[in-house]
């Protein structure tokens, strides 16, 4: 095997990864701005009324999130593929073209969201403006573009492993990417029937976040553990298989926790309730594994921010997905919490805890090498920046989650249990003073998070620029 080529210290895939990470970070900032606007509209409903309505700000908020997390994942995979394969990237040019096509498509989609916003009730609105389906609002033309770029991406990764060597991690990773892209197809058709529509919509949303994305980050974590603390590949790979078995074993049929009330048959109450209740198990296993590894190896890691964010990922995944998800996953409880701020509480902590964290960890892994393999331990200059952003983001996320949980509790009680989910029942809850207070707390913590995000961007742009002590050679 010939030695992999390294340009400016970065491998080919890593140069593409930097682009993905850069774009992801910009979209992350945009997500926060639109989150703040949407949150503000709860408190000041006149704000941008009939100019940039809540449905638009919220759509941009959650779409920016989905896209930047995907950018981050694609970047992460490009980042590790050559090290893991022991070979050069097969299609450097192709990967670059894919990136630019995707980026331009995203920009066009967002501009149309902001300028055109909504269209008449025709199929062509769904093709060219938006599909009006939460998280996957992107118009159909963009769906097709996304699938095309995913195919390029998939080919690039799979072919690179084939040219180099396969490992346990890469095997799981490639199969998982295939499943991730395949599941997206379930969201690409129109149906008049809302039950059919939501049935397949959840295939994308649930089987992404609770199955294929989880396994994808498990692969990244496995690689990260080997890189940051030199964990044994054999143990890490075995754990990865355990994780896959537990994650798919519970998460695939756990899909049923979204099939309680959408017209689907009653057996889903049992199937969904049972399997989704098992979903926290792999997350606990992951937590135990990571804490055990961190405890037994000496903690002399050379990249403190990345390591801190990996740990935040493990705890955040467990808390946000495992604990907050479990709260509302039994049908008896979900009947009241379904579609209230409970879901938003869980949604925020889960997406942040599981997926923002690991992406940020990867940004720090990348920036370390980009600045010339500098030591990012205790000798680092301006450590306060990464620490401030770490604290602001995590405290903000937790605080927002608790505020939304309280709001959700009020809503489930006042609107659902007492008010019977009517128009007036809904507003009884929205008028409740505790509910309103929670919406204000959400804003406060949202501001903390936003400041944290900008600190993060600033830190990533500057970290290690003045440090001149390279610590290690990557093999």
């Amino acid at each position: 095997m010939k030695t992999p080529s390294v340009i400016k210290g970065l491998r080919l895939g890593q140069q593409i990864a930097i682009k993905y990470f850069f774009a992801a970070m910009i979209l992350f900032c945009a997500q926060m701005i639109f989150g703040l606007i949407a949150g503000l509209q709860f408190i000041l409903p006149e704000f941008l009324y009939q100019i940039l309505d809540f449905n638009v700000t919220r759509m941009v908020h959650i779409n920016a999130m989905i896209i930047w997390l995907l950018f981050g994942f694609m970047g992460s995979v490009y980042w590790l593929v050559e090290d893991e394969a022991g070979s050069d990237l097969v299609g450097y040019k192709l990967g670059n073209i894919g990136f630019w096509v995707l980026l331009i498509a995203v920009i066009v989609v967002v501009l149309v969201y902001l300028i055109v916003q909504v269209g008449p009730g025709t199929e062509s609105s769904l093709w060219f403006i938006n599909e009006g389906r939460e998280y996957i609002e992107a118009p159909r033309w963009a769906d097709i573009g996304i699938v095309a770029v995913m195919l390029i991406f998939f080919y690039n990764i799979a072919a690179t492993f084939s040219k180099g060597k396969w490992s346990g991690i890469s095997g799981v990773l490639v199969l998982d990417l295939l499943a991730l892209a395949g599941v997206y197809l379930a969201g690409m058709f129109y149906s008049t029937n809302i039950s059919i529509d939501q049935f397949w919509w959840w295939w994308v949303v649930h089987l992404w976040v609770e199955a294929t994305w989880e396994v994808l980050v498990a692969c990244i974590m496995a690689w990260g553990l080997i890189q940051t603390i030199g964990a044994s590949r054999k143990i890490v790979t075995t754990w990865l298989y355990v994780e896959v078995a537990l994650m798919f074993g519970s998460g695939i049929l756990g899909l049923g926790h979204h099939y309680f009330w959408i017209g689907t048959p009653e057996y889903w109450l049992t199937v969904g309730g049972f399997f989704s209740a098992l979903e926290p198990i792999p997350l606990v296993a992951m937590l135990v594994h990571a804490v055990y590894d961190a405890g037994t190896k000496n903690l002399k890691v050379s990249n403190h921010p990345a390591f801190a964010w990996f740990i935040a990922h493990v705890f955040g995944n467990f808390l946000g997905a495992g604990v907050w998800g479990f709260f509302q996953t039994l049908p008896q409880i979900n009947l009241y919490t379904h579609g209230t701020q409970w879901s938003a509480s869980h949604g925020h902590l889960a997406f942040f805890g599981a997926y923002v964290t690991i992406n940020v960890a990867m940004f720090y892994m990348a920036v370390q090498k980009l600045r010339g393999n500098i030591a990012m331990g205790s000798g680092l200059l301006n450590k306060y920046r990464w620490k401030t952003s770490l604290i602001l983001l995590n405290v903000g996320a937790l605080g927002m989650t608790v505020a939304l949980l309280i709001a959700g509790y009020e809503q489930a009680f006042i609107e659902r249990a007492v008010g019977g989910s009517t128009w007036s029942g809904y507003f009884s809850a929205q008028r409740d003073s505790t509910f309103i207070a929670s919406m204000h707390w959400r804003m406060l913590f949202g501001i903390l998070m936003t400041v944290g995000t900008f600190f993060l961007a600033w830190d990533l742009l500057t970290i290690g620029k003045k440090n001149k002590n390279p610590v290690f050679e990557t093999t």
Binding site: Q41, F42, P45, Q50, F54, N55, V56, R58, Q117, V118, P120, G121, T122, S125, L126, G132, R133, E134, E137, T192, I194, S195, D197, Q198, F199, I235, T237, T238, Y241, V244, A245, F248, G249, I252, L253, L255, H258, Y259, F260, W261, I262, G263, T264, W268, T296, L335, H338, G339, S343, A344, Q411, R416, A417, G420, S421, T422, W423, S424, F427, R431
Partner: protein
């Protein structure tokens, strides 16, 4: 930790992972076939679109101990009875409008979507429309001009004017009426419907 324990062997867990995943996928595919057949329009759980020609009630079902939709006597929407394909066309226009206007990033539908505005699952049956006789007119004028017709209950949160045509608004109402006939296993619970006359059976 490094010595090989049998149950911690890499190859064993690889096999388990493959088998467990395949088994779960198989079950999911089987259940999907069954579920899709049960939720296709024209079944007892999801009635045909022509159900908009009838009254729809949401009543306590003793045997299941939940609220469930009951289809009543003829009561055509906007006073015009539609055949199957006309009904489908109207409901379909409603669905396209709901997607194109992005209602679900403010409202929940069947409990999924956004939490800025009331759930629309049983909006057709909402007491807020006053009485059966004025419901259709009120809904139409509300959807065409939600700003002027706002209620907001003292919150000042209003629905924006989405530039719907009258035909689109009729489609949306047909959609909401059809949706209220879907059997949602009792969601939303404790919902108190608008008064509707019922032929004694």
């Amino acid at each position: 930790m490094n010595k090989e324990v049998k149950w911690m062997s890499e190859s064993l867990w690889k096999k388990i992972a493959i088998w467990v995943t395949s088994l779960m996928l198989l079950i999911l595919v089987a259940l999907t076939f069954d579920t899709v057949s049960q939720i296709t329009e024209g079944t007892s759980r999801v009635p045909d679109y022509s159900v908009i020609n009838n009254k729809i009630f949401y009543e306590y079902d003793k045997k299941r101990d939940i609220l469930a939709p009951v289809i009543g006597e003829l009561s055509p929407l906007f006073g015009k009875e539609l055949d199957k394909s006309e009904a489908k066309e109207l409901v379909n226009l409603g669905k396209l409008t709901i997607q194109a206007k992005n209602c679900m990033n403010c409202h929940t539908i069947l409990g999924n979507g956004a939490y800025y505005a009331p759930d629309l699952t049983k909006a057709w049956l909402d007491k807020g429309w006053g009485s059966e006789s004025v419901r259709e007119t009120l809904m139409l004028s509300f959807l065409l001009d939600p700003e002027t017709n706002a209620r907001s209950f003292g919150t000042n949160r209003k629905m924006p004017n989405l530039g719907m045509s009258e035909e689109e608004a009729r489609g949306v109402i047909a959609y909401l009426k059809w949706m209220s006939s879907i059997d949602t296993n009792g969601f939303p619970a404790h919902f108190e419907s608008i008064e509707q006359d019922k032929e004694s059976k």
